[in-house]
């Protein structure tokens, strides 16, 4: 149980680091939760989700991570659009890889073992 929980925590940490790499690559600025007050305010925001925040009449996008980096990523519309563009590229690359892996496992499968398929 402890090992499973530890594994989940590691996977979540890697996923968080991946997301934060893309946020930074898109130009989001990091702000450290380096005081107890800032850390408490980080915990109030939705955790590890990009959410819009209006401030001084402008729209910003913030991503709060009170656990891994203990920081806040802040970006405006251009950074948000760049993040979406990079995330889309990653999603397409992931899907292409998954499709190729599926084709490989289907092609290495000995379908003859299963006899004729009745619906063909």
């Amino acid at each position: 149980m402890a090992i499973a929980l530890g594994g989940c925590a590691t996977i979540r940490r890697h996923e968080t680091q991946d997301t934060e790499q893309v946020l930074s690559a898109a130009g989001f600025q990091m702000q450290l939760g380096d005081t107890p007050e800032k850390l408490a305010s980080l915990r109030v925001l939705p955790t590890r989700r990009l959410v819009p925040q209006a401030r001084d009449g402008r729209l910003y996008y913030v991503y709060a991570d009170p656990e891994v980096c203990r920081c806040l990523f802040v970006g405006a519309e251009p950074q948000y659009q760049e993040y979406q563009r990079l995330a889309l590229r990653k999603r397409i690359a992931d899907e292409e890889l998954m499709a190729a892996q599926n084709i490989l496992s289907a092609s290495t499968m000995n379908w003859g073992l299963w006899g004729p398929w009745p619906w063909f």
Binding site: A25, L86, A100, L104
Partner: protein, 140 residues
Amino acid sequence: MALVLIRDGARPITWVGARILIVAAVLALAGCATYAERYAQSNEQGLVAAGFEMRRADTPEKLAALQALTQREILVYKRPDRLYFVWPDARFCQCLYLGNEAQYQEYSRLGFEQKLERERITTAEEKEAAALFDGPWGPW
């Protein structure tokens, strides 16, 4: 494995086994060391490409201070109002890399592009392997 080693009557074989184990452990450790070095080099090339500045630990004091830091990870410092990004490596380059936020963003961008490129290569390899199975081998 330790239980096998102390069994009576199996000593000559297990002694050989122990030596094999020791050699295997040494090789595994060497493999880990090589991997760790390659990981460090690859990241440090990315840091340089992103504009990070390298500073050598060229005095015993600097080296001691460097060793006290978490190794081969990006650490973030605020000093006084700006963020600095530090990559300490006391083992391989005996240096640290120092960058600002713009350079860190560039490092993240390079890392992201490298990840996509690796994924693209793996996809191509998987497709190639699938084509090989479909191709000259005929029906099974």
